[in-house]
């Protein structure tokens, strides 16, 4: 298990992505899965940066764990900000006509579609969001 704790800011999405990619490289993660994880980090860490402590800045922790058989990576995003379950959000209508399309909700929708498992819990004053991605050719 490895983890990185940083201020939850937009500027820190890039270092968090580099940190996770460093771990994925060691696992010989396929490019498609790596890009999907990159997008998930942008969506999830980006949400924490924008909303969790708004208008202040607070800390966030990103933890990377590996499970074997099947090989998978589990990434946990933890913040102590306002309780918020992104999974409670209604799914966007991705077949609505252009004029009615809204961009809201697309991020978490993308994460749910590309990851193999996404869970949320609020525990001891912390938002804990976990994503799991199989790296053995499984999943999306």
């Amino acid at each position: 298990m490895k983890e990185l704790s940083v201020a939850a800011t937009i500027e820190n999405i890039a270092p968090v992505t580099r940190f996770v990619n460093g771990e994925l490289e060691l696992l010989r993660c396929p490019e498609r899965a790596r890009r999907q994880i990159d997008v998930a980090i942008d969506e999830l860490f980006g949400n924490i940066a924008r909303y969790a402590y708004h208008p202040d800045v607070g800390p966030a922790t990103v933890r990377v764990e590996v499970t074997e058989e099947p090989l998978a990576v589990v990434i946990t995003f933890i913040d102590c900000g306002m309780p918020y379950d992104p999974l409670s959000r209604a799914e966007p209508d991705v077949h609505a006509p252009l004029e009615e399309r809204q961009a809201g909700g697309l991020g978490i929708f993308l994460v749910r579609q590309t990851m193999d498992d996404v869970t949320y819990e609020y525990k001891n004053g912390r938002n804990i969001l976990k994503i799991k991605k199989h790296l053995d050719g499984g999943g999306v």
């Binding site: 890009r35 942008d42 969506e43 980006g46 991705v94 991020g107």
Partner: protein, 98 residues
């Protein structure tokens, strides 16, 4: 992200290089705000786009809506990784992808 602009009369091509995400989407948004005057054909060349997140999709959505009023928008050289995101989010239904 880098944005390479190529203008030819009423045609404008924006080549996006790198990542279109939360940190970089505002660059593209302000670029579009400033350069769409008189443009009838906007081409987004995504050949060197590594990935796109919802922050980038938001900008493409508003660019498509804007261009529908004054001309057309075309998206070119979409990689399989980006195409998958367009498919999942239904963006491939309304984008003109060449």
């Amino acid at each position: 992200m880098e944005i390479v602009k190529e203008s030819n009369g009423t045609a404008l091509t924006l080549k996006l290089v790198g990542r279109l995400d939360t940190a970089t989407a505002p660059e593209l948004e302000s670029e579009l705000k400033n350069c769409l005057d008189g443009v009838q054909t906007l081409t987004m060349d995504l050949k060197e786009l590594e990935y796109i997140s919802s922050a980038g999709l938001r900008i493409l959505l508003s660019a498509q809506k804007a261009m529908n009023k004054q001309g057309a928008m075309v998206v070119r050289n979409v990689s399989p990784i980006v195409m998958e995101i367009f498919d999942i989010t239904g963006f491939s239904d309304f984008l003109t992808i060449e």
